[in-house]
C-alpha cells in the first residue's frame, strides 16, 4: 500500500498542480518538492531490505480478461532507478520553482513535471509488462508536453512532436514485442518472464521480439540512428532537460534492456546488436559534442554518448559489465543532473548558454562553477568522482569481454578521449579567464543551487566511500540485471593497472582532439554537408515530407471528387469480388431446363428491354420518362401474369406516380446531354455489362439451388385459419412481417420530409 502511494503520488500532484495557489510564492517550489522528497525517503527505507535480497510488491488484478495486472515490484534495479527518479525529482521541482518563479503557467509546468515523475516511477517499478508499457507511453506524452511547454516557440513545438513521434513509434514496436512475449511466455509478469531463463531466447519468435523490443528501447534511449530527437528536446526549459536527461526518460530504454536482460540477453544477436549500436552511439555522441557551442547541446550529445556506453555494457552482458553499467548509471545521473542544473543556472545568471559568449564565471558564480567543475571532471572521467569508478569498471569489463574485447576497449578509449576534450573545453572556456557575459552574471538563489551542489557532493562522496553504495544499492541492482548474484567491490584506486593506463591513453587522444578540433572543423563540416540527406535528423524530416507527399498523391488519386469514378470503382469492386468468388469456388450450377416462354411473355420482356435501351439512348427528358414508364409498366405486367396481383397493382400505381414526379421535377432541369468520350462510354458499358451478366448468371444459378418451402407452406396454412385473412400477401404485410411494413412507412414519411425540405428549405435566401 505504502509502495503504491509513494509510487503514484506524482499523479495526484499532477492533477492538483494547476489549481494549487502556492506557485506565486517562493515557498511553492519547496512545498511541492516535499512530495517527491517523501517518496525518496520511503525508497531509502527500502534499501536495507532490498539489499538483503527481499522484493517488495503490490499488485491488483487490473484486467483479468487479458491477464493484465497492475503490478509494482521493487528489486535492486527498480530501487536504484526509483531513488534516482524521486531524488532528482525533488531537486528539479525545487529548482523549477525558483527558475520559473513568477512565470505564467508554472502550475501547468508543475503538473507536467509531476505527471512525468509519476510515469517514470511507475515505469521503473512496474512488475508487469503492460503496466510498464502504460507508464512508458505516459512518459512519452508527458515529455511531449514538457518539451512543448513554451508553446509560442515553433522550435519547441517541432521538437516535441519529433520526440513524441520517434518515441511513440518505438513504443508501438514495443507493444508488438510485448504482445509476442505475452504469447510466448504465457504471462506479462516480469518476474516470471525473467525467471523463465532461455524460454524466450529459444522460441521461434525470438528474433521479432528482440527487434521490436530494441526498437522501443533504442528510440527511447536515443541510440543511433534515433539519437537526433534528444538534442532537439533541448527546447524545453532547463529543469526539464535535467530531468529528462540525467535520471530518467532517456534511461528508460536502458532500464528496459537491463530489465529484460535475463530473459532476452546473452544471445549472439543481443550481444552483436547492442554492442554495435552502443559503440556507434557512444563515439558519435562524443564527437558531435566536441563541435557544439551551446552548453545544453554539449550536454545533450554527451548524454547520447553516455547512453551508448550503457547499451554497450548491457550488450557485453558479463557480470563485470553489468556491474559497470549500474555504477555508471548512478554516476551519470548524478553528474549530468548537476551539469544541466548548473547550465540552467548559468543561463539564468548570464542570459546565454553560448560558451563562446561566456568566460570567467568562477568569481561571479562560485557555487555554480564549483558544481560545474565537479560535473565536468566526472564527464572527463578523471578525478575523485563516481564516474571515474564507472569508467574504470567499463574498461575492466571491456578487457574481459571475450568476443570483441579489443574493439570495445578501443571504443571506450576513443569516446572517453573525446568526452575528456569536451569537459576540458567547457571548463576552460566557462570558468577560467576574464569575465565575459551578455550581462553581469549573478549567482542563483539557493533553491537553484541545492540541486547541483547536492548532486556534485554525492558524486564525490560516493567515490571516496564507495562502500556506501556497493553492497546495498549497486549489488542488488546488478543482481537483478544479471539474473544472479554479482559480487560488487568498488574502489577509487585500484593501483596502476591496464585500465588506468588506457585511461591515460584516452587523455592523449583528448589532447589530440582538442588540438585538432578547430582544424578539423571545416573538414567535418564538409563531410556533414555531403552526408546531409542521410543524417538521421534530416532523414526524419525528409521521410515526414515524403509521407506527406505520398499521402497527398494517394488522396488525390482516390478522393478526387468525381462521383462517376467513385461509382465505377465501387461497381468494379463488386464485380471483381463476385466474379472471383464464382471462379475460385468452382463456378455455379446452371444445368437446368428453364421452362417455355409464352408469346405474350416474350412481348412483355421485349417491352422492358426496349424501355431500358431507350432510357440509355434518350437525350431528351420526355423520352427518358417514357422509357422508364415502359419498363415500370412492363414489370407490373410480369407481376400480373405470374400470380402477383397485389404487386401488379402497387407497381402500376407507383409507376404512375413516379412518372408524374419525373414530369414535375424534370421539366425544370436542362436538356440531357452526355459529353463523355467514347472511351469512357466503352469502359462504363463494359463494366455495366459485366455486372449485368453476373446478375443474370446468379439468377439462373439460384433456380438450381435446392430451396425449401417451409415458410410458404406455413403462411398458406395459417393465413386464413389463424390470421383471418385470405390474401396471403397482405397478411404477411400486416401481420406476419408487419415490422417490415412499419419500417417501410417510416421510410416513406422521412422521404416526404426530405422532399419538402429540398424544395422549400431557405428558399428565400437562394437565388
Amino acid at each position: 500500500m505504502a509502495l503504491s502511494v509513494f509510487a503514484l503520488c506524482g499523479f495526484a500532484m499532477a492533477l492538483a498542480a494547476p489549481f494549487l495557489p502556492i506557485w506565486r510564492f517562493r515557498a511553492g517550489g519547496w512545498l511541492a518538492a516535499s512530495v517527491p522528497a517523501a517518496s525518496f525517503a520511503y525508497f531509502l527505507t527500502l534499501v536495507p531490505r532490498i539489499g538483503d535480497g527481499e522484493v517488495v510488491t503490490a499488485s491488483w488484478n487490473w484486467i483479468p480478461t487479458l491477464d493484465i495486472a497492475f503490478a509494482l515490484r521493487v528489486d535492486g534495479l527498480a530501487l536504484l532507478m526509483a531513488l534516482l527518479v524521486s531524488g532528482t525529482g525533488a531537486l528539479v521541482v525545487l529548482y523549477s520553482g525558483a527558475y520559473l518563479q513568477g512565470k505564467p503557467g508554472l502550475g501547468r509546468f508543475m503538473a507536467y513535471l509531476f505527471g512525468f515523475m509519476g510515469s517514470m516511477l511507475g515505469l521503473v517499478l512496474a512488475g508487469d509488462l503492460i503496466t510498464l508499457f502504460v507508464f512508458w507511453e505516459l512518459t512519452s506524452i508527458t515529455s511531449f508536453l514538457l518539451i512543448s511547454f513554451e508553446t509560442e516557440k515553433a522550435e519547441a513545438r517541432k521538437a516535441a512532436t519529433q520526440a513524441l513521434l520517434v518515441t511513440g513509434g518505438g513504443g508501438l514496436a514495443l507493444l508488438g514485442g510485448f504482445a509476442l512475449i505475452g504469447i510466448e511466455a504465457g504471462t506479462y509478469d516480469i518476474a516470471e518472464i525473467t525467471a523463465g531463463g532461455g524460454v524466450l531466447a529459444e522460441s521461434s519468435r525470438y528474433l521479432p521480439i528482440l527487434v521490436l523490443v530494441l526498437a522501443g528501447a533504442f528510440t527511447k534511449s536515443a541510440q543511433f540512428p534515433f539519437h537526433f530527437w534528444l538534442p532537439g528536446a533541448m527546447a524545453a526549459p532547463t529543469p526539464v532537460s535535467a530531468y529528462l536527461h540525467s535520471a530518467t526518460m532517456v534511461k528508460a530504454g536502458v532500464y528496459l534492456l537491463a530489465r529484460l536482460h535475463p530473459a532476452l540477453g546473452d544471445t549472439t544477436e543481443w550481444t552483436v546488436v547492442l554492442t554495435a549500436f552502443g559503440s556507434v552511439t557512444m563515439v558519435l555522441g562524443a564527437f558531435i559534442a566536441v563541435h557544439q557551442t551551446d552548453l545544453k547541446l554539449i550536454l545533450a550529445y554527451s548524454t547520447v554518448a553516455a547512453l551508448g556506453l550503457l547499451v554497450l555494457l548491457l550488450g557485453i552482458g558479463t557480470d563485470l559489465a553489468v556491474k559497470a553499467a549500474m555504477v555508471f548509471l548512478l554516476a551519470h545521473a548524478l553528474y549530468k543532473g548537476a551539469l544541466f542544473l548548473a547550465a540552467g543556472s548559468i543561463d539564468h545568471g548570464t542570459g546565454t548558454r553560448e560558451i563562446g559568449a561566456l568566460g570567467g564565471l568562477a568569481r561571479a558564480m562560485p557555487i555554480t562553477s564549483a558544481a560545474l567543475a565537479v560535473g565536468a571532471i566526472s564527464l572527463a572521467g578523471f578525478g575523485p568522482v563516481l564516474a571515474f569508478i564507472g569508467k574504470e569498471a567499463l574498461i575492466e569489463a571491456a578487457l574481459h569481454f571475450d568476443r570483441a574485447g579489443e574493439a570495445a576497449v578501443l571504443v571506450a578509449v576513443v569516446a572517453g578521449g573525446a568526452l575528456f576534450a569536451v569537459a576540458a573545453g567547457m571548463m576552460g572556456r566557462l570558468l577560467i579567464g576574464a569575465e565575459r557575459a551578455p550581462h553581469r552574471p549573478h549567482e542563483s538563489p539557493w533553491e537553484m543551487l541545492a540541486g547541483p551542489v547536492l548532486l556534485s557532493v554525492l558524486s564525490v562522496v560516493f567515490a571516496l566511500a564507495p562502500v556506501l553504495i556497493a553492497g546495498d544499492l549497486v549489488a542488488p541492482a546488478a543482481a537483478a540485471v544479471a539474473g544472479e548474484q554479482v559480487k560488487v567491490n568498488l574502489a577509487l584506486w585500484h593501483g596502476v593497472n591496464t585500465a588506468l593506463l588506457l585511461s591515460l591513453l584516452s587523455l592523449a587522444i583528448a589532447g589530440g582532439v582538442l588540438w585538432g578540433a578547430r582544424r578539423l572543423r571545416p573538414v567535418s563540416a564538409r563531410i556533414a554537408d555531403a552526408a546531409g540527406p542521410l543524417r538521421p535528423g534530416d532523414l526524419y524530416y525528409t521521410s515526414l515530407l515524403n509521407l506527406n507527399r505520398v499521402a497527398r498523391q494517394q488522396t488525390r488519386l482516390l478522393q478526387h471528387g468525381y462521383l462517376r469514378l467513385y461509382l465505377a470503382v465501387t461497381l468494379a469492386t463488386a464485380v471483381a469480388l463476385v466474379f472471383t468468388a464464382i471462379t475460385a469456388r468452382g463456378g455455379v450450377d446452371l444445368d437446368n431446363s428453364y421452362g417455355d416462354v409464352a408469346f405474350y411473355e416474350a412481348t412483355i420482356a421485349g417491352v422492358i428491354i426496349a424501355g431500358a435501351g431507350l432510357a440509355i439512348r434518350a437525350n431528351d427528358r420526355l423520352t427518358a420518362v417514357a422509357a422508364l414508364g415502359a419498363v415500370g409498366f412492363g414489370v407490373a405486367l410480369v407481376y400480373a401474369f405470374f400470380g402477383a396481383p397485389d404487386l401488379a397493382l402497387t407497381q402500376f400505381l407507383i409507376e404512375t406516380l413516379t412518372v408524374l414526379l419525373f414530369v414535375l421535377v424534370f421539366y425544370r432541369l436542362p436538356r440531357l446531354s452526355d459529353v463523355s468520350s467514347v472511351g469512357t462510354r466503352v469502359r462504363d458499358a463494359a463494366l455495366s455489362i459485366a455486372a449485368g451478366a453476373l446478375m443474370t448468371v446468379l439468377v439462373l444459378a439460384s433456380i438450381t439451388q435446392t430451396s425449401d418451402h417451409t415458410l410458404t407452406a406455413y403462411f398458406a396454412e395459417t393465413s386464413k385459419p389463424v390470421a383471418f385473412g385470405r390474401n396471403v400477401v397482405n397478411v404477411i404485410l400486416v401481420d406476419f412481417r408487419s415490422l417490415d411494413t412499419l419500417g417501410e412507412i417510416i421510410v416513406l414519411a422521412v422521404a416526404a420530409l426530405g422532399v419538402v425540405a429540398m424544395l422549400k428549405l431557405r428558399r428565400e435566401d437562394s437565388p
Binding site: 515553433a154 478522393q559 470503382v569 468468388a581 433456380i703 428549405l761
Partner: protein, 496 residues
C-alpha cells in the same frame, strides 16, 4: 423480459411521432427529442443489464414463431451496440440544442434524428435479414435528409455523393437477400445460418457472400468503397457529423460481423482472407488520407476509415479474442470519434474555421477544452491507459496469436500515423499561438456543447482505467458470436 427487446424501438418511434406532430414548436421538439433520447438510454441500459451475463433475449414480433415471423434478438453484441447508439443519440441531441439552426429544426431535424437512431437500433436488434434491409433503409433515408438539410451547395454536393453510393449499396444488399432467399427459402438469420451451412459448396453462396461484403463494405466505408464518406461528412454541421461519424459506419461493421459470423462461415478461408486484406488496405489508405489534410473535420473523417479497418480486422482474424477486440474497438471508437467531432465543432465556434493554418492558441485561451480534446485524441492515438490502447492491444495480440506479422506491422504503423494526426491537430490548433484575427467572429460555446463533450471524455477515461468489465463483456459477446449455436437455439428453440 423478452418484450424489452422492442422497447428501444418503441421509445424512438413514439418520440419521433410526437416530435413530428410538434414540428412548429422548436422548444417542444427539442424537449421531446431530449426526453426520447434519455428514455432510450434507460431502455438500452435495462436491455444491457438483462443480457450482460450472456443471456440472449428473443422476441417474436407479432407473436409468430421463428422462422415465420420477424424475430428481434438481443444478444450481448446487439445490446452493447444499442447502448452505444443511445449514448451517441443523447449527446448529439444535446449538442444540437446548442447548435442547430431554426431552418433545420423547422424541416424536421429532431424527428429525423430520432428516426435515424430508431433505424440504427432496429438494425442492431433484428434477427431477420430482410428486416435488416428495411432498418438500413430507415436509417439511410433519415441520414440522407439530415445530410441534405443544410441546403447549400457544399451540402448538396456531399449529399448527392452520399446518396448515390449508398443507394448502390442498398441495391446490392437487396439483390443479395433475394438470391439468398431463392437458395434457402428463409430470411430468419438463425435459420439462414443452418441452411447456408447445408447448401452446396459451389460458387453460388460465396458469390452471394461477396455481394453482402460489398454492400456492407460500402456502408462501413471499407477500401475501396469509402469514397462517399470523405466526400460528405465534412459538409455537415458538427452534431450531424458526430452522429454519423460515431454511429453510421459502425452499423455497416455490425452487419458485416453479424453476417460473417452467423451466416457465411462455411468458406472462412476464402471470405475472411479477403476481408483481412481489405481491412489492411482500409487502415492504410484511411490514415494516409488523414495525413494529407489540414482541416480538422477532414482529418477526423479519414481517420474513421482507417479505424474501420481495425474493426473489420478483428472479424477477418476470426478468433474469439480478435472479435472481442473488434467489439471493444467499436465501443471505444464510437465514443471517442463522436466526441472529437463535437470538439471540432467547438474549435470551429471559437476559432471560426476548421483549417489548422488559421487556428491556434486554444490551449491558452481554453485550457479546459484542450484537456477535453486531449483525452479523446490521444485515446484515438492509442495512448494507454485510455480506451484506444486496449482496443488496439487486443487486436495486436490477436494478430500476433495468428502469426499475421505483416498485418501486425501495418496495424502498428497505422497507429503511429494516427498519433501523428492527433498531435498535428493538438499542436496546430491548441499549442501554436493564435494567428492574427480569426477569419470569422467566434460564436462561443456553452453548456449544451461542453456537457456532452465532458460526458464522453469521462466515458473514455472509464473505458480505459476500468476496462475490465467492458473487455469481459466484449469477450462474452465475441464468444456468443463465435458459437452461433447459442444464438440459433435462442431464436429457433432446441433442435429437434
Amino acid at each position: 423480459m423478452s418484450g424489452l427487446v422492442a422497447l428501444p424501438l418503441v421509445v424512438m418511434l413514439a418520440s419521433s411521432i410526437v416530435a413530428l406532430a410538434c414540428l412548429r414548436y422548436r422548444r417542444i421538439q427539442e424537449a421531446i427529442a431530449l426526453t426520447g433520447m434519455v428514455a432510450l438510454v434507460v431502455a438500452a441500459g435495462w436491455l444491457l443489464a438483462e443480457t450482460w451475463d450472456g443471456q440472449i433475449l428473443v422476441l417474436q414480433a407479432a407473436n409468430w414463431p421463428a422462422p415465420f415471423g420477424i424475430t428481434l434478438v438481443a444478444d450481448l453484441f446487439a445490446s452493447i451496440m444499442v447502448m452505444l447508439a443511445a449514448i451517441v443519440g443523447l449527446t448529439a441531441t444535446m449538442y444540437s440544442v446548442g447548435t442547430i439552426d431554426a431552418d433545420r429544426e423547422r424541416y424536421g431535424y429532431y424527428p429525423l434524428m430520432n428516426i435515424l437512431v430508431l433505424g440504427v437500433c432496429g438494425a442492431f436488434l433484428t434477427g431477420d435479414l430482410f428486416n435488416l434491409y428495411v432498418w438500413f433503409e430507415v436509417l439511410l433515408v433519415a441520414s440522407f435528409v439530415i445530410m441534405a438539410l443544410g441546403g447549400g451547395r457544399p451540402q448538396m454536393e456531399g449529399a448527392l455523393k452520399y446518396v448515390a453510393l449508398n443507394l448502390v449499396s442498398s441495391v446490392l444488399f437487396l439483390s443479395g437477400v433475394g438470391l439468398l432467399y431463392a437458395a434457402t427459402g428463409t430470411l430468419n438469420m438463425a435459420d439462414l445460418s443452418l441452411r447456408v451451412a447445408e447448401a452446396e459448396a459451389d460458387g453460388y453462396m460465396t458469390a452471394v457472400a461477396m455481394l453482402f461484403l460489398t454492400a456492407f463494405g460500402i456502408k462501413a466505408a471499407m477500401f475501396p468503397l469509402f469514397f462517399w464518406l470523405p466526400a460528405s461528412y465534412h459538409t455537415a454541421p458538427a452534431p450531424v457529423a458526430a452522429l454519423f461519424a460515431g454511429l453510421l459506419t459502425k452499423v455497416g461493421v455490425y452487419a458485416l460481423i453479424r453476417v460473417f459470423t452467423l451466416i457465411f462461415t462455411t468458406d472462412v478461408g476464402y471470405t475472411h482472407t479477403i476481408i483481412l486484406w481489405l481491412s489492411v488496405a482500409t487502415m492504410v489508405t484511411g490514415v494516409l488520407g488523414a495525413v494529407s489534410h489540414n482541416d480538422v473535420k477532414r482529418i477526423l473523417s479519414f481517420h474513421i476509415i482507417s479505424q474501420i479497418g481495425y474493426m473489420t480486422l478483428g472479424l477477418a482474424l476470426f478468433t474469439p479474442l480478435a472479435l472481442a477486440g473488434s467489439i471493444f474497438y467499436i465501443g471505444h471508437h464510437i465514443i471517442v470519434k463522436t466526441n472529437l467531432f463535437f470538439v471540432a465543432g467547438v474549435i470551429r465556434r471559437l476559432g471560426g474555421t476548421y483549417e489548422l493554418a488559421h487556428l491556434g492558441g486554444l490551449a491558452r485561451s481554453r485550457p479546459a477544452l484542450a484537456v477535453l480534446f486531449f483525452i479523446p485524441a490521444f485515446s484515438l492515438g492509442g495512448i494507454p491507459p485510455l480506451s484506444g490502447f486496449f482496443a488496439k492491444f487486443v487486436l495486436v495480440r490477436a494478430a500476433a496469436d495468428e502469426r499475421e506479422f505483416v498485418v501486425l506491422a501495418f496495424a502498428l504503423g497505422v497507429g503511429l500515423l494516427t498519433l501523428l494526426s492527433m498531435t498535428k491537430i493538438f499542436v496546430e490548433a491548441f499549442l501554436k499561438p493564435a494567428p492574427d484575427g480569426p477569419p470569422e467572429p467566434a460564436a462561443g460555446a456553452g453548456f449544451w456543447h461542453y456537457t456532452p463533450i465532458a460526458g464522453l471524455a469521462a466515458l473514455t477515461l472509464v473505458l480505459g482505467f476500468a476496462a475490465e468489465p467492458f473487455l469481459s463483456a466484449a469477450t462474452e459477446a465475441a464468444d456468443q458470436l463465435m458459437e452461433p449455436g447459442r444464438y440459433i437455439t435462442a431464436v429457433l428453440g432446441e433442435p429437434q
